[in-house]
């Protein structure tokens, strides 16, 4: 499978996750979001960028429970809760936001 963004083609796996993490450009997130009928706002980007930083530091995509806790620590309780994160990413903040961010499917995601 592949996804087209900014005039280029990027390889994705059978679940739509980017195969090469280093290929990621913001345009990929925008195209993936559009396919899911989502318009990316600054609030979405805040989480997407946070996930990329988390991966950079720990080399894993966090499970949703871990993401929620980490967001709460960084951005406060009003954002570190599943209601807020699910309102941004209705298909699941772990799976959907990680996919937009070019990360693999979260470790511990079942």
């Amino acid at each position: 499978m592949a996804i087209e963004a900014d005039g280029k083609s990027f390889e994705t796996d059978e679940e739509g996750y980017l195969v090469n993490l280093n290929d990621w450009i913001p345009g990929i997130a925008a195209v993936m979001a559009k396919e899911d009928d989502l318009e990316l706002t600054d609030e979405h980007w805040e989480i997407i960028n946070f996930l990329r930083e988390y991966y950079e530091e720990y080399q894993i995509a966090p499970a949703v429970r871990v993401l929620t806790k980490a967001v709460g620590k960084r951005m406060g309780k009003d954002k570190g809760n599943s209601k807020y994160l699910y309102s941004l990413f209705p298909y699941g903040p772990g799976k959907q936001a990680c996919r937009f961010a070019g990360l693999p499917k979260p470790t511990g995601c079942i």
């Binding site: 080399q59 499970a63 079942i110």
Partner: protein, 136 residues
């Protein structure tokens, strides 16, 4: 859940690279942490090399997954036992290990050490106290 919370110990006894055991163990720990169980890890024999700091795998072709151990605290895995004799037999001390910590949400995210160096006899008592021991 009505099921009783069990104590799980993951025993790591092999060097981090060359075989898949160390990485597989870490992945199982992270996946298992999603369930409500009491999880701890022990590092014995060459397993102590898994958490040595300053790992560089660039010449080996293996992915350096040692940064992932620092995420264990986020997964509420904050009991890492390291066998004292295994360290000493390899000329290592706790100063050669990564400084792995967890943050206590109930104490305003106070940072606490996850690693505890224990003697062989202490570790056998810890193991005897477990419901399940997984050996990697």
């Amino acid at each position: 859940m009505s099921e009783q919370i069990k104590k799980f110990l993951y025993l790591n006894r092999r060097a981090p690279y060359g075989t898949i055991y160390a990485w597989e163990s870490l992945e199982v720990v992270l996946i298992g942490a999603a369930f409500d169980q009491k999880v701890s890890l022990a590092f014995v024999d060459d397993g102590v090399f898994e958490i040595v700091k300053g790992q560089d795998t660039s010449e080996s072709g293996f992915k350096n997954f040692s940064p992932t151990y620092a995420a264990l605290g986020d997964y509420d895995v904050n009991q890492l036992f390291v066998e004292k004799e295994s360290l000493e037999e390899r000329g290592l001390s706790i100063d050669d290990l990564m400084h792995l910590t967890w943050e206590d949400e109930d104490e305003d995210w106070a940072e606490k050490d996850s690693i505890r160096v224990v003697s062989r006899s202490e570790l056998s008592e810890i193991m005897a106290d477990q419901d399940v021991v997984f050996s990697f």
